[in-house]
Symmetry: C2
Subunit: 448 residues, 2 copies
Amino acid sequence: MRRTALLGTLRHPARIVPLGFLAAIAVGTGLLMLPVARAGDGAAPPLTALFTSTSAVSVTGLVTVDTGTYWTPFGQVVILVLVQAGGFGIMTGASLLGLLVARRLRLRDKMAAASESKQLALGDIRRVVVRIAAFTFAVEGAVALVLFLRFKTGYGQGWGASAWNAVYHSVSAFTNGGFSPHADSLARYVTDPLVCLPIVLAVIIGGIGFPVLADLARRRGSPAKWTVHTKLTVLATAVLLFIGFAGYLALEWDNPDTLGEYGVGGKLLPAFFSGAMPRTGGFSTIDTGALRPETLAVTDGLMFIGGGSGGTAGGVKVTTFFLLAFVIWAEVRGEPDVSVFKRRIGHTVQRQALAVALLGLACASTGTLLLLLFTDFGLDQVMFEALSAFGTVGLSTGITGDLNAAAQTVLVVLMYVGRVGTIAVATAMALRVRNRLYRYPEERPIVG
Amino acid sequence: MRRTALLGTLRHPARIVPLGFLAAIAVGTGLLMLPVARAGDGAAPPLTALFTSTSAVSVTGLVTVDTGTYWTPFGQVVILVLVQAGGFGIMTGASLLGLLVARRLRLRDKMAAASESKQLALGDIRRVVVRIAAFTFAVEGAVALVLFLRFKTGYGQGWGASAWNAVYHSVSAFTNGGFSPHADSLARYVTDPLVCLPIVLAVIIGGIGFPVLADLARRRGSPAKWTVHTKLTVLATAVLLFIGFAGYLALEWDNPDTLGEYGVGGKLLPAFFSGAMPRTGGFSTIDTGALRPETLAVTDGLMFIGGGSGGTAGGVKVTTFFLLAFVIWAEVRGEPDVSVFKRRIGHTVQRQALAVALLGLACASTGTLLLLLFTDFGLDQVMFEALSAFGTVGLSTGITGDLNAAAQTVLVVLMYVGRVGTIAVATAMALRVRNRLYRYPEERPIVG
Ligand SMILES: [K+]
Ligand SMILES: [K+]
């Protein structure tokens, strides 16, 4: 009986994630509008609360007000809980949807989303949730411990402050939330590997996606047996981390406002940290507003691509991007099949990747255009802001706080759509297969 | 015997267009480097000649030097001949390649590129060339006649000047070349419908593509019998012309430097003219450099989309863009087939459209990034310039003449690739079908 009811609710599982996020954002907005949440007089205005709640639940990290001074400790805890809930919701939601899709489609082949799909029963759902929760708290706990020791011994922070900062930044890192109680994000730790490296590691692990992590845990020693999804994600992550690192290093090398002030060796850590954040950690140790236009453009691309599927990262996802690259390669080479790591990629997945990427492009472009309309900032700044919101990255050239209500609303929509949109659309696509009783005759328009 | 040799050459027809354009550019560069081509002392520097020749052959219209004063009448005639040759080469090349592809694939269904493919023999090629030439000169002649009468009677220009300007602008309009002997393009005729409308008409006809014109001529009275390609192109052209018109009208309405100075009725003509030029005429009657950033962004999009296949327009082509929109629509709706006007669009064409659009995006993005690196101009200006070059549009915010050698070289490459690249790639794709003897098992990575 309970099973049937649950199944009924899950009949349109594509709706659960969008509605769940809306509910979480609404609750968060309500809590942040309580006078007890705001440090100054009175309560936070609705738009400020909505913006902050959306940014937290979508694990973006863009802020119109300074997290550490505008909100009380209560407000900051609300934000952290929203970030944790948002990040957890994304990981479990994506994994569960993957399992449901696998069930619905009755695939015989193993699916990247759920290799265990053959034996899956609804009772297994709880096991998935518990497993993700355990993993989340293990990583966050370990990172928080390292940060705590460092803050306590290296920066003379008290027990309470060290613990608070350690927990806040570890949760914010693993969930890719990007929130920091510090107004200048992590700029004060720019040259400290004992702070930067644990955080960047948590960001990468959280952003690689649970399906990949599960596959890696199962088949640690034999990369040859990894699913195509895992291989693609691991390869893409490595490639994009290198591009980010090399890009920041080369383009900002002699920029006196960013990497220019450090010696040759000293540039490496901030370049690696900055290069890893566009996908999609959102912390910064160097001033994003001082980056050169070409660095902003490279970052734009990395933010749009984002991280792994089924994780806390945003963007159109690395698998989408790299699959499309393989499609183009097959097309240019004249291969009838698209093959990746000796596996054929079907038309259905190709079309999904195409739709996800182009809808993402349409969203980001529309957002950029609207920000141009509503503000007087330049294209480089508003495009960066729109891509940061859509990719739920949270980096900003510094204009977020100066945006008017219309522009803030655009970002709220972008953060929400960026967070749930592509997942929701992709899942809806995989589930709602309608069969026409007739097919139209084929015709070949000329393209290009 | 002659037939076999011809067939041999055409075995790799995808190479004919790229090589033909290279040869034309080389000849043009050589001619423009002659001292007799330059109005001032000495000969034009190689890069200036190369840039101008590439811009002319690719019918772009971007200039680093003022056409009317830097070049002698001889130089200007060279440019016009290059423009005419480039435009003619594109139309015939695209049509002939379409016929060859049809032959090679032995399609039984009618193809948009060549509905007459069933009866086609190589001897028909001459007929196609003659037909396109006749049509070209008919349109150019008619437009030139109207312009001549207008220049002679309305502006008090002499017989010679009227004829020169009329021929120059009509050829430049029909081929979408965008070159003008006037330094300010057509700004002096901004409110004159008798100049603007014939030119805009020639631009639209030239940019709609010969396959569509042929289909329209054959089946004028029965739109129901048009090919999908024709329907799609006509619909897309109408939609994009309206978007351009409405966009310029709404966004520039009260901009004192563009449409603001005209009365309500007076804004209509320049808005229509400006809205039609991004695809891809390249003339301007209002100052592109004074446009608002949001108008530049809309124009960026229009320039990237471009015009019809097999015509003188550039960009990724309207059919490519609209086909992808239909693919996304089918995906979101969960339809297994992509249907357009009651015809099914096969996976092959879908993949071609995807490759053309994304390779175009990659080219334009790379070009923009390089221009950011090589110059100090803002993102809005260099992105506009890169898209104008890649889309062979020829509009500019006014920075072309101030670009250094590296940036000019980037534009030369963009103009060349934008002109021949997508055609060449798409054709190579359609012709080089290799069959693997084995297929890999299918696997479904997660996207989005
Ligand atoms: K983030
Ligand atoms: K042009």
